[in-house]
């Protein structure tokens, strides 16, 4: 029986066209007992290949093609690779090390191994002479048969005579046949076994097209000019044993040897030999005893000495940790958390770890699982054979990097690495690259990629066909059709390897013997060749060090509160029942708060009416696609409001669902439902959970569903109840939250709400300093804070730092906007301005230019345009145009003659100018009042010396335009405030009025569109958030109306809407019946669209 022992997958990055699962599937279809995957310079696809093999009953051999000599088209060097198969665990470790050594010294995608390294690490490896890019072909090409004999002899010396196979491939090519003749001759002469392979590059014949596309991308060509770089034919597919037997009927031994060799390859990835590192403890102690001590200390800190329930839970957990031999893991995570605490880095564990009292006691998590009665088995169970998962949230940016670098330092470069993130071809990238290869011009490509995936939701008319038609494409055209087909075929194929944002794997000893390690693009980091899922599948422990913008906000806020308010805030000790916080949440006044600020969250909050911490946990978890698709939101809210009886899906599930009023909301509940209703074991339930989060396979979920139904039928649950339970469970495929995770997030949400309610200035400044993050733009955050009474100070080079900071005024704190908000101002320039000002204040724009020589004219102009230079002169304040006038002069070298000439002198010699017709009013020394100006044009000013300009002062409208253009926001009045009287006359209500009006009333609202949403779960409805000077009004647009007024809704920044007011359960929105664009200002306000 023939086995395919030389196949490449798409993980050879542009040199293979099928995913490993596809290769295995075709192999299984042909009844082939085993297959070997030899990707280029890596084992990227091996984990998936192995798993697919286990599932399909195909033995998955591991190997790799390792570059011996790099090809260089410019120098005419063809290059070659060792085709290596792994025989034993030593062989696998050697292969990983060999690749790691090569990768760590080379640029991405480059490099070759050195002969001495191969000699050193050849044990346990079997070498094939390879196909077109193999050792034999290269030697034959360059030096004929004698060189080939020499090369094969060298291979025998390196790997041992028994470990070298002379490979023959047949793809109906004359040149290859000549090579085969030479191979046969050499094999006979050197008495080496012949081995037939098919040099597989794609699983199925049609995937040859993708391979050709990839070849073009690799060589930066288009199909039309790729010529002989493309494949000669489609024969590099997986062929059936019968086909191969027929092909090699003249060399039966070459076929027979495949099975023999397969039998020799004993290694599989089950035999990986991974060990988690041990935590160093003092002599006389074990890791377990050390962990017990730390846990006990922590228990006293968290619970005090008398909490018997907590003590028992802790003992139970510790016993299990000991049984599973996991103390090292907990200690290592504890060690990272300890480091963060020492360095004042805010850290909080989330995910299922929050179910553990040990984690709580060790300070890893902040949620009390005993008090909240969380399910520990979700985190750790003796029935589960995988490792627990602890995710740590850290402030995004430098602080997180410090924690990551600590792990590297502690475990060595080859002891820790980031997990990879396999970037796959998705809508836009696929469209762009395939379009390129098919010779579409750049403009078409830009249009195409802008088409794909603009909206999350697609209705029946919103198909790709329609999008193509909208852009003027005709799918009947063969070229467009081909483009379309290829785009679809290439979806989800790996494109390149990135670095996961926070997943780290740690290993006892050398990680490079478990999986090859590569340098990441970011200096100082290394990354393994497997992604997060693969690492989990291979039972490698990972710790996620995730960056969370809100953590950075909290950290910055606390620091500002300490520095400016002189108060200490400890997030761990916030009062859990702060009335102000709950009142704010009940009013859905949550702009800027973590996880509960979105439009959907806001519409739910008044109905849920949170009164305790657990309500926030529910609130965080309920507005997720899982519960929404599972139709669980409304039943829960109705039951909560007492409008519906809290009935359970099935009497047996009462205990599980009691806390959530009979409605399943959390992952843990669903696992328990599966265990109770369908008789799933703990590990089966875990398998179910993995299937939910497993984006890769719809098929896998289908299988789980069948199993569920069978289990329920066995337990007497049939019909509608069964369907409802299945629907509840399967809908979590679209991301349901685990309760522990929701609880961790709820803590952060509560903290953000608390800080916003009590320290608005600090919280707002911190939010502004950590943008972009969250749901709203800085402009909306500023306006929201404004409405809560927060004062803001404009950007001023005489006062502003790079970041937004607080300024103490008699009436409270005001937020001084930082220079970072001046668009086009580079960070180094901004920081230099602040530094120079720290030394000595500036006295003029020219002086600023002189002292900050790196500043560019465009930067000075940007500063002047937003009014940041208005107060630079000690003698008088300018208006913005004065500053702009001065900037133009300061930015140009005047030359020696005019260098020192004063503006007034220059004026004196100027020709007399005609005075403007307007009445002149001088504005010297009058600071500009931003907040109390009308839109009417100011009276003119004219040059009268003293650094003033002949330019007119900006009107309020002009300032508004300049503010939005230059900073993306304004600290002045909202654009609509200028038009309120006219709007009122037109019957337009302000946002703040709406909640007071009766339900069903016909209303008109107007405002700046700050968010346009068309969520996938909303059946084509569009949700708009309109902001005016009083607040935010919500509007709902039906699919039909959206279809009709698509252009107005999408393109116009200000809208006037008319419709019926829906004012129910403290939630207000307008069901729109008529849409009109509104011309308010030329200012370009931004909107957060298409979520």
């Amino acid at each position: 029986m023939y086995c395919e022992l030389h196949a490449r997958s798409a993980f050879s990055f542009l040199e293979g066209a099928s995913i490993p699962e596809d290769l295995i599937a075709v192999c299984a279809e042909h009844g082939m007992p085993s297959m070997a995957l030899l990707d280029r310079d890596g084992v990227y696809g091996s984990a998936r290949f192995h798993l697919a093999g286990v599932k399909a009953g195909v033995k998955a051999h591991i190997g790799a093609e390792v570059t011996a000599e790099e090809a260089n088209a410019e120098k005419g060097v063809s290059g070659w690779r060792y085709a290596l198969l792994v025989k034993s665990r030593t062989g696998y470790q050697n292969l990983c090390r060999l690749i790691t050594r090569m990768k760590l010294r080379s640029a991405k995608g480059k490099g070759s191994v050195r002969p001495q390294e191969v000699a050193e690490l050849s044990e346990g490896l079997i070498c094939l002479t390879g196909g077109e890019e193999g050792a034999l072909a290269h030697a034959l090409e360059s030096g004929g048969i004698s060189a080939a004999i020499k090369r094969v002899t060298e291979l025998c010396e390196l790997f041992g005579r028994r470990n070298v196979y002379v490979e023959v491939q047949r793809h109906f090519c004359r040149k290859e046949e000549a090579r085969n003749a030479a191979a046969v001759e050499i094999a006979r002469k050197l008495q080496l076994p012949l081995l037939a392979t098919n040099g597989v590059r794609h699983a199925r014949p049609e995937q040859r097209q993708i391979l050709d596309v990839f070849t073009c991308l690799r060589h930066h060509r288009v199909l039309a000019n790729a010529g002989r770089l493309l494949s000669r034919n489609g024969e590099n597919r997986v062929k059936s044993p019968q086909e191969m037997l027929q092909l090699f009927r003249d060399l039966p031994e070459a076929i027979a040897h495949t099975q023999e060799l397969s039998a020799r390859l004993q290694f599989t990835l089950n035999d990986l030999g991974y060990k988690f590192p041990e935590y160093p403890v003092a002599k006389g102690q074990t890791q377990m005893s050390f962990l017990r001590e730390r846990a006990h200390e922590g228990m006293l800190w968290r619970y005090g000495a008398d909490d018997e329930k907590a003590r028992q839970q802790l003992q139970r957990e510790l016993a299990l940790i000991e049984k599973l031999d996991l103390p090292g893991y907990f200690l290592i995570v504890w060690d990272i958390v300890r480091f963060c605490r020492e360095k004042n880095i805010l850290v909080q564990g989330r995910g299922s770890a929050a179910n553990s009292a040990v984690c709580y006691a060790l300070g890893i998590t902040a949620v009390d699982p005993v008090k909240m009665d969380l399910l520990f088995e979700r985190f750790l169970s003796d029935k589960r054979d995988d490792w627990p998962d602890i995710d740590l949230d850290l402030p995004s940016g430098d602080q997180r990097e410090r924690a990551i670098q600590y792990v590297y330092e502690r475990y060595g470069k080859l002891g820790a690495a980031m997990t990879a993130n396999v970037i796959t071809y998705r809508g836009k990238s696929a469209a762009r690259e395939i379009g390129k290869v098919l010779s579409f011009d750049t403009e078409t490509l830009a249009r195409l990629s802008s088409l794909v995936g603009a909206w999350e939701y697609r209705d029946a008319n919103d198909s790709l066909e329609r999008q193509f038609r909208d852009a003027g494409f005709d799918l009947k055209q063969p070229r467009i059709r081909k483009f379309f087909e290829l785009c679809q075929a290439v979806q989800d194929l790996p494109r390149h390897l990135g670095q996961h944002s926070g997943g780290m794997v740690i290993c006892q000893g050398q990680l490079d013997s478990i999986v090859p390690v590569e340098p990441a693009t970011m200096p100082g980091r290394v990354v393994v060749q497997w992604d997060k899922e693969d690492c989990a599948d291979m039972k490698i422990v990972k710790v996620d060090l995730l960056g969370l913008g809100m953590m950075a906000v909290l950290e910055d806020s606390i620091e500002m509160i300490r520095r400016d308010y002189g108060e200490q805030v400890d997030l761990g000790k916030l009062p859990g029942d702060d009335e102000m916080v709950y009142q704010t949440l009940q009013k859905a006044d949550t702009v800027g708060m973590f996880q509960i600020e979105s439009r959907a969250q806001m519409s739910c909050l008044p109905r849920l009416h949170p009164t305790c911490f657990y309500d926030i946990v529910v609130q965080v978890a309920i507005i997720r696609p899982g519960p929404i698709v599972g139709k669980m939101v409304h039943p829960y809210l109705r039951r909560r409001q007492g409008k519906e009886k809290a009935e359970c899906l099935h009497p047996s599930l009462e205990k599980v669902l009691a806390r959530t009023l009979g409605v399943p909301l959390f992952q843990e509940q669903l696992l328990r439902i599966a265990m109770i209703a369908a008789g799933f074991s703990g590990s089966e339930a875990e398998e179910l959970r993995r299937a939910f989060g497993f984006k890769r396979s719809v098929k896998r979920m289908k299988e789980v569903e069948e199993k569920l139904r069978a289990g329920m039928a066995k337990n007497g649950i049939h019909g509608e109840t069964q369907d409802r339970i299945v629907q509840s469970i399967t809908s979590f495929a679209l991301y349901g939250f685990p309760e522990s995770h929701a609880a961790s997030f709820a803590l952060i949400a509560y903290a953000s709400a608390y800080l916003k309610c009590h320290y608005l200035a600090a919280f707002t400044a911190a939010m502004l300093n950590n943008q972009p993050m969250g749901f709203y733009s800085p402009a909306t955050l500023v306006k929201d804070a404004h409405r809560h009474g927060q004062r803001f100070k404009p950007i001023d080079v005489m006062r502003s730092h790079w970041e937004c900071l607080l300024e103490k005024l008699p009436e409270g704190f005001s937020v001084r906007l930082g220079l970072r908000y001046v668009k086009g101002l580079r960070a180094e320039t901004g920081q230099e301005i602040a530094r120079q000002r720290g030394i000595r204040q500036f006295t003029s724009i020219a002086e600023l230019k002189r002292r900050v020589p790196g500043i560019q004219k465009s930067e000075l102009t940007a500063l002047a345009a937003v009014g940041a230079l208005n107060f630079i002169s000690a003698e008088r304040s300018f208006h913005r145009r004065d500053a702009l006038w001065q900037v133009e002069r300061a930015a140009r070298a005047a030359g020696p003659l005019l260098e020192g000439m004063d503006e007034a002198v220059a004026e004196a010699i100027a020709e007399p100018i005609e005075k403007p017709q307007q009445k002149i009013k001088l504005e010297e020394n009058t600071p500009i009042k931003i907040e109390a100006e009308s839109m009417a044009a100011p009276v003119g000013t004219v040059a009268v010396g003293n650094g003033a300009s002949p330019l007119l002062q900006m009107t309020a409208e002009e300032r508004l335009v300049a503010d939005f253009l230059g900073t993306g926001m304004t600290v002045g009045p909202h654009p609509l405030a200028y038009h309120r009287a006219a709007l009122r006359a037109a019957g337009v209500r302000s946002a703040v009025e709406l909640p007071k009006l009766p339900d069903g009333m016909r209303v008109r609202v107007a405002g700046a569109v700050i968010a346009r949403q068309r969520p996938g779960t909303a059946k084509g409805f569009v949700f708009l958030s309109l902001e005016d000077e009083t607040g935010i009004a919500n509007a709902i647009i039906t699919p039909q109306l959206f279809e009709k007024d698509h252009t107005v809704v999408v393109h116009h920044p200000y809208l006037l809407l008319e419709g019926r007011l829906q004012n129910q359960e403290n939630t207000t929105s307008v069901k729109v019946e008529r849409i009109e664009s509104l011309t308010v200002t030329q200012a370009e306000t931004g909107s957060h669209d298409f979520h």
Binding site: N233, R881, R889
Partner: protein, 571 residues
């Protein structure tokens, strides 16, 4: 006042309206957006009239989006219509004054000094210009002022007729937005930031400070804004257009009389080229052909109009070197016309030349003589006349897996290669090495004779291998077969291919027609006796009657055309 500026607002839209207004009266009053782009998906709005802009259409909008605006007519931009509109605008200008400047496609300026005595006061001249433009289908603004710039700015800025008296320039122009001065982008941005919106505001800025800030460009702009700029009129010159045209009284049907006409035109053309010290690098001929005579009576207007439209025959001849030898050009042209004659009598002839500098070469004293480029071109043209265009030149190997693929490149004399730079030479050497590498080994004893086009054959297969081959009606048995050698490709095009190639040794067994008539290209010739000696079974009764002939072919099965073909034969 001395100058009149005629400006066509919304020029691109007006050009299209002008071309279509006869077919669609009232079009001018509608909202119109023009689209343009390289291919259908890229069409976007490039121009629109005020009515269209008022509906919300903006420039750069996609055609699909623009189509959603109800009441807006979408039309394609027409460069030809714009050319015609500009020509009309010139005609309007020239109809009044011979001294005209073609400032832009949409604007011309006339020197009207001294015309008052001939045509009346300025107002009358302006009205005359507007009226004439109207007759030509253009709606224009006319401005008359003492200086050119003021007239130009006023024409761009004010609708209808504007008369600016001397000394009033600054105040009149002052009302206009500063954008009418077409400031450079950077200055425009600065002025916008400064809040300078009108020419008057710009004019008020003090010169030294303005100079310090915007340099001389700013000062110049200010002068324009004051209507004080003065410059000389750049009188439009005839372009370097070398075209000769002749309408024929009687339609010409044969080449000989046509040659006389062409000869005359070419003589004139070459004389003009010579006068300008130029030569033709490209020659274009265009014939208007007589409409076909129809016997059938069809009175429907559109049918009659379509039939009466003259046909156009056009040929472009790229010359290898710039030439101005009328005789040579005529010969080349004749050869070209012989190869592809126009299909109807000719009523109008136009010959146009693209001019460039003539070739100046000096041949080396000791270099071998090469054929003269002009003569060589003539020879190639003669050959092309015989074998057809595209069938003459140097065969070039194409980089593809497709067997036997080649293309005909331009035949280049060797001496051109001698001029190549060392880098170019090295590149050529490399490419020839690559080609060599992929060609069959020349040292092999066998050569390959290619059948072009491939020979259709019939093949009977056994167990997936050719067993019997019928070539040109002769049956042969396959003795040896090697293959298949499979190639396929260009799957993204409609002309994809998929072939299985075989190398065969076949044996023809024919009834004796005296074996001595051996085919000149036969490979091995063996008699039955030889075969008997080799142990090949033969039919005793026919032994002396049969002749055997062995040949080696390369055949292939074309999976796209579903047929067998012989690609060639091994000699």
């Amino acid at each position: 006042m001395g100058f009149a500026a005629i400006y066509v607002p919304e020029f691109m839209v007006q050009a299209v309206v002008r071309a279509e207004s006869r077919a669609e009266p009232g079009l001018r009053e509608r909202a119109i957006a023009l689209i343009d782009g390289n291919a259908p998906p890229l069409f976007s709005v490039v121009a629109a009239n005020a009515r269209a802009l008022a509906t919300g259409i903006f420039l750069g909008m996609t055609k699909a989006n623009a189509a959603q605006f109800v009441g807006v007519e979408i039309r394609a931009r027409s460069v030809a219509a714009e050319k015609a509109a500009h020509a009309a605008l010139r005609d309007v200008g020239w109809s009044v004054s011979p001294r005209m400047e073609e400032t832009a496609a949409d604007l011309v300026i006339l020197d009207i000094a001294g015309l008052s005595s001939l045509l009346g006061p300025e107002e009358t001249i302006a009205e005359l210009l507007v009226a004439r433009a109207g007759e030509c289908g253009l709606r224009v603004n006319v401005a008359i002022a003492e200086n050119i710039s003021a007239a130009e700015i006023a024409a761009r800025g004010f609708a209808g007729i504007t008369l600016i008296a001397a000394g009033e320039e600054a105040s009149r122009i002052g009302e206009l937005p500063v954008t009418v001065l077409s400031p450079p982008e950077e200055i425009a941005e600065t002025l916008a930031l400064w809040g300078i919106k009108t020419c008057a505001a710009l004019a008020r800025l003090p010169v030294p400070q303005l100079s310090e800030r915007l340099g001389q460009a700013g000062v110049q702009l200010r002068t324009l804004a004051r209507g004080a700029a003065s410059r000389a009129l750049v009188v439009a010159e005839t372009e370097l257009v070398f075209e000769e045209e002749m309408e024929l009284d009687d339609a010409v049907e044969e080449l000989e009389p046509l040659s006389f006409v062409l000869g005359r035109l070419l003589d004139q053309l070459c004389a003009r080229l010579t006068a300008r010290a130029l030569a033709a690098s490209l020659l274009r001929v265009r014939f208007d052909l007589q409409p076909a005579f129809e016997n059938a009576l069809d009175v429907r207007t559109e049918v009659v109009r379509a039939k009466n439209m003259p046909g156009i025959y056009e040929r472009v001849m790229q010359l290898p070197v710039p030439m101005r030898d009328a005789k040579l050009l005529l010969k080349l042209l004749r050869l070209r016309l012989q190869g592809s004659p126009p299909g109807a009598p000719i009523v109008k002839v136009l010959v146009a030349a693209e001019a460039s500098r003539p070739r100046i070469t000096q041949r080396g004293l000791f270099l071998p003589s090469f054929p003269d480029v002009e003569k060589l071109e003539l020879t190639l043209a003669r050959l092309a006349g015989v074998v057809g265009e595209g069938n003459v030149g140097s065969a070039e190997v194409v980089d593809t897996h497709r067997p036997g693929e080649f293309r005909m490149g331009k035949f280049l004399p060797v001496q051109e290669e001698a001029k190549d730079s060392p880098r170019k030479k090295a590149a050529k050497k490399r490419s020839s090495e690559i080609v060599e590498k992929h060609l069959p080994n020349h040292s092999a004893a066998m050569s390959f004779r290619v059948f072009r086009p491939p020979l259709p054959i019939h093949v009977n297969s056994r167990e997936g291998r050719p067993a019997e081959v019928f070539v040109q009606g002769r049956r042969s048995e396959v003795c040896k077969a090697s293959g298949p050698w499979r190639t396929s490709g260009e799957w993204w095009r409609e002309e994809q291919w998929n072939e299985d190639e075989w190398d065969l040794e076949v044996r023809f067994v024919d009834k004796s027609r005296k074996a001595q008539t051996q085919s000149p290209c036969a490979g091995t010739f063996q008699t039955a006796k030889h075969l008997q000696q080799k142990g090949v079974p033969t039919n005793g009764a026919q032994t002396e009657k049969f002749e055997e002939e062995f040949r080696r072919y390369r055949i292939y099965f074309d999976a796209v055309r579903q047929g067998w073909f012989a690609r060639g034969m091994y000699d």
